[in-house]
Symmetry: C2
Subunit: 121 residues, 2 copies
Amino acid sequence: MTTDSCSRQHDVYDASCPCRQLLDLLANKWSALALGALEDGPRRFGALRDRLDGVSPKVLTATLRRLEEQGLVDRTVYPSVPLHVEYELTALGQDACAPLAALRQWAVANIDRFPALTGAA
Amino acid sequence: MTTDSCSRQHDVYDASCPCRQLLDLLANKWSALALGALEDGPRRFGALRDRLDGVSPKVLTATLRRLEEQGLVDRTVYPSVPLHVEYELTALGQDACAPLAALRQWAVANIDRFPALTGAA
DNA sequence: GGATCTTAGTTCCCTTTGGGTACTACGATG
DNA sequence: CATCGTAGTACCCAAAGGGAACTAAGATCC
């Protein structure tokens, strides 16, 4: 139960409901991109910074820490020579990727319907 | 073509691609909630403010204006007695609702897997 | 006729977040 | 001993978020 639509007690429209905070975490540009960038397996900090074009190290760190705190990604430090940190989706993170991937793909598939963004047509 | 995954030219991971801006518009707490609140038909400003618990009029106005600019919602003013403004999804807005509804529903359905948000268990 | 009500905002101010650039720590390597 | 690469942090500034109070326009009440 509670696997479709809204449960009896949780409601994203209620500001005090924890799932509102969850929505706020997921409905975020950098979260959506970071989780997507990890879909294909573990990635290092530098690889993520390169992939998430335009992200500053500070914001990337903050985003990853938030995702880590909530159990969506695992952070593994390899205390090797020039330090090596890997980020990886947890099972929960993998599950969360599905709706976010749909959102990213919708944006790509429908961008042509947004003349104001594509510089008009 | 370009109806699934990424097209050849558009990429949300590219900061300068317009679909990145589109993702930024959609991957936003208030956008996701506002569009969802309009799924069942036109709503007035006050109704949206009540439904989007915790939103300030300023932020709601800004959110709706942004969605209107991009053609996701229509704004209709009825210059009646105590003024009456209705917001309504466009066809484009209705299409955008699908992935956002999935995201909202995922948050509700999986909130129990986030101990840090639900106050631990 | 004047006070009051409603609706849809706007304005002001402050706090939070986002963002860019530069810097640090670490030890291997030259 | 200086240099390099990695993964950040520190600092500072700009933009966005957020709350409370205020505005406008006219109908309605008394």
